[in-house]
Amino acid sequence: MSVELGHFALIMAFATALMQTILPMWGAVARDPALAGMARYSAFVTFGLVLFAYIALTLAYIGSDFSVANVVMNSHSTKPLMYKISGVWSNHEGSMLLWVMILVLFAALVALRGGGMPERLLASVLSVQGAIACAFLLFIILTSNPFLRLADVPFEGQGLNPILEDPGLAIHPPMLYLGYVGFSVAFSFAVGALVHGRIDAVWARFVRPWTLLAWIFLTLGIAMGSYWAYYELGWGGWWFWDPVENASLMPWLMGTALLHSTIVMEKRDALKVWTILLSILTFSLSLLGTFLVRSGVITSVHSFASDPARGVFILGILTVFIGGGLSLFAWRAPSLKQGGLFAPVSREGALVVNNLFLATSAVAVLVGTLYPLVLETINGSKISVGAPYFNLTAIPLFVCLLMLVPFGQSLAWKRGDLIGVGQRLLAALGIAIVSILITFAVTRGGPVAAPLGLGLGVWLIAGSATEIISRCYRRGLSWKVVVERAFGLPRSAWGTALAHAGMGITVIGIAATAWGVESLAVVAKNEPLAVGPYTVSLEQAFKRKGEGFREDVAQFTVKEGATPRGIIESSKRVHTGREMPTTEAGIVTYGFGQLYASVNEILPDGRVSIRFYWKPLVTLIWGGALIMALGGAVSLADRRVRIALSAKNKRALALRAEAKA
């Protein structure tokens, strides 16, 4: 009963989402508070219905109800409970349902938190959210319905793929979706503003937390996906410029630009039209990401939907929302009231530069991702644009941007003092240069780029530290006062510093990959093998049985000089029933670096063919991403109500206000 009721709830949600689209927008245009007021309740009702449907499907998975085709295809009665639950979104239909559930959840949250928002803005925002929900609900119901039933009920399901049973894979998609879908709120706000023809600091203030929230989740989702690829695929790499990875990187880059431009808009009432455009583009790239992963146009590990009918439907959705959004922009943007002008050397000027770099790099990634697709469509040739392209285009842009970050961060609003900033950053620059020189000296003859990259990371961290220190420390102040001032700093200042320092930490981790060491060998028992600063030797190779699998384990002892540093093991695993062999990498963390073992084969004579990597500082890559997300969270906690003013320009403003009065 619950399955069918869930199916009905999903269809009903389409109907209520349609209401949510039409009536509030009518109310907003006709300035009717009663109709506009329907927006919030219909958002709640739609969310309730989709949640109901989602729970019904999850219950069918938990109870292994094989009368549901989707459960048969993707689950099995002997799966652990956790993977039955995550099995819901491990397939195309279920993951689209999760996508929509997150979408309507965001709409409901906007409705809940929208107390102080102008009613008309709220109504049009929720109406646009409703339209997106409509499109995706119809897509699910007509082409990817997870509630289709089977009359002949098979006794057992087929979804017993042990490779997909992994905590990383279970958590990674919801995180990414929270990010992708979160940007829909920014899109809805942008379209809402275009419909109204009004956009100002109020708008920016309401849209900013949602953008920040989406950005935090997307950052975490990308980091988690990267770590999953690193430990599960067994190649030791952490980023492959795979189309699916790029699909999440593009909205991240554009979203980061959006995040920064909303600050300018909120603080200075400028960059309005550009911010609207970025909102539309960011969500467009999120949609494109969904399209790239879901349509199966791109052959890749992740693409599990390969049905052209669905592809055409998604293409339709893309056309309507991206094309529609951009057309509305082209039509209405010229009528928007432009914001104030500002000096090139100022915080807002620096943020414009940041935006240009980020948007350009997003475009560079987009071209590299889509070009092979387009080429294949035109003349059928399959080419692969790999790392060399991205290393030549996106990476230099990133490097330039990152070199400028500490300057932008330290510049004052309205009119900055570049020389003053330069003087303040002198110490940070010194620290960066010294660390480059020391690293060169220590790693003589090593790769050249690595110390430079490390210096860039240090520069970012030191720049962030400079910003915080210069804001709370003055010569002659007692330490107590300095600490008080540090606590008194707005949380957004701390958030900015944390996020930029986190970026620096990630950069250091990436730079350090150049010092990685790889050893591939066939070793006999107790035969030592040098891997970077460590020596490993085969302790034993043995068979072991786990729950649902058996494995051939190669166990090594690790020594640093003569000091034992524990054991590391990697195994070839065979899952019973399916007889599918997988390689389980062994990873042991020393400091910030990791020793990574991946067994190729255990030979009959007891020798082991194995691949070892020593990856210094590799954990910083993901650690930095976590700190970036933390910075976002701290910034989100900021009570951003006051209109902050730069200390330097108080008088100028006061004078101008007087003149106006």
Partner: protein, 358 residues
């Protein structure tokens, strides 16, 4: 019962949608931008009182907020017309009251299966009338093999079952394990060959043939080995050899048994200059074809994603003269491929062509 629940859910939803319309319009709720800046001014004042802002910057902030407040109130809109509002409310209520249930119900009736009850695993497994389902046996043996991977008899038992439900790759592995653990027998060896042949879509590959040859060498009376050796010759186009081998097999078979009929049909087909493989309908309604069709049927019942398989199945039943089963296959294929418009189109055109549907 289900309709009762659907009706209640619909009722609750409509109530939720119409709730705001039933409320008196609260003018104070229509917050405009002015309120935002007025709130901001109060906030600045509070912060100043708490000592978070010094007097000068509070003053500056208030000045800027006030300036924006002025700008915001300047563009404030005219109030709405109340007569038109009442009319709009009526239309909105009607849409919610009629449009939502009609749209939802008509879509659901088209797509849903309201008559099918939930069938959770635990309930089905505990049901007393469960007549020792094949899959239950498979599950049990698999569980046992997972604990005792060296149980050769277990592998030997499950291998033909895998073969019959179409899990050919699993069958190959199971036969391989059984051979490794139990030692060489003609039966297991020819089974491995058959699994390989089935995995190669019915082609007796060189690899599979090697297995049949081994089985034949061990036991020249092994019917499966004999049959497939003949079929290999037939597929190679070596008709004389195929005929010799078929005839030799026929001598060892009890006359009028099903296998004998099948082989006779092959011989007749070959001597009639029609060198077509087993699926040729003209070869007669042999037991072998039947069993192959049933195997395909079983496989598609558990995994309905194979469109080509469905088309083959429909054609096979129709050719075998079993029209009800062909229609049944067509309707099951439609259920399995529901939502895939391209596959549905192919199915329906094939059904028309075959005369399964009109």
């Amino acid at each position: 019962m289900i309709w009762l629940l659907i009706a209640s859910l619909t009722g609750i939803v409509i109530l939720g949608l119409l709730w705001p319309l039933a409320q008196p319009v609260d003018d104070s709720r229509s917050v405009d931008d002015g309120d935002f800046y007025r709130g901001q001014l109060q906030e600045i004042e509070r912060d100043r009182a708490r000592g978070l802002l010094d007097a000068q910057s509070a003053e500056d902030a208030k000045t800027e907020a006030a300036r924006r407040l002025l700008a915001a109130t300047k563009v404030s809109e005219a109030p709405a017309d109340s007569g038109a509002m009442a009319a709009r409310r009526k239309i909105a209520s009607l849409i919610a009251l009629i449009g939502v249930p009609v749209l939802a119900l008509s879509l659901y009736v088209k797509l849903g299966s309201p008559t099918l009850p939930d069938q959770p695993f635990a309930q089905r497994a505990a049901a007393p009338d469960e007549n020792a389902d094949l899959s239950v046996m498979v599950a049990k043996v698999e569980a046992r093999l997972s604990d005792h991977p060296d149980d050769g008899l277990g592998w030997g038992t499950i291998a033909p079952v895998y073969l019959s439900v179409g899990r050919y790759d699993d069958a190959i592995k199971a036969y391989g394990n059984a051979l490794r653990l139990l030692g060489e027998t003609a039966d297991l060896r020819s089974g491995l060959g058959e699994a390989k042949m089935a995995a190669a879509d019915g082609i007796v590959t060189a690899d599979a043939l090697a297995d049949f040859e081994k089985a034949f060498a061990r036991d020249p009376k092994n019917e499966r080995a004999q049959y497939y050796r003949a079929m290999a010759a037939e597929q190679d186009g070596d008709k004389p050899r195929a005929l010799t081998l078929y005839r030799a097999l026929l001598e060892t078979l009890p006359p009028d048994s099903e296998p004998a009929q099948l082989v006779t049909a092959r011989v007749a087909a070959l001597s009639g200059e029609q060198a077509r493989p087993v699926f040729d309908p003209n070869a007669g309604q042999s037991a072998m074809i039947r069993s192959m069709v049933e195997r395909l049927d079983a496989r598609l019942s558990s995994d309905g994603s194979d469109l080509e398989g469905w088309l083959k199945l429909m054609r096979a039943y129709q050719v075998l003269g079993d029209a009800p089963k062909a229609r049944d296959a067509y309707s099951r294929a439609k259920t399995a491929k529901a939502g895939d418009s391209e596959a549905l189109a192919k199915l329906s055109s094939a059904a028309k062509e075959l005369g399964v549907a009109n």
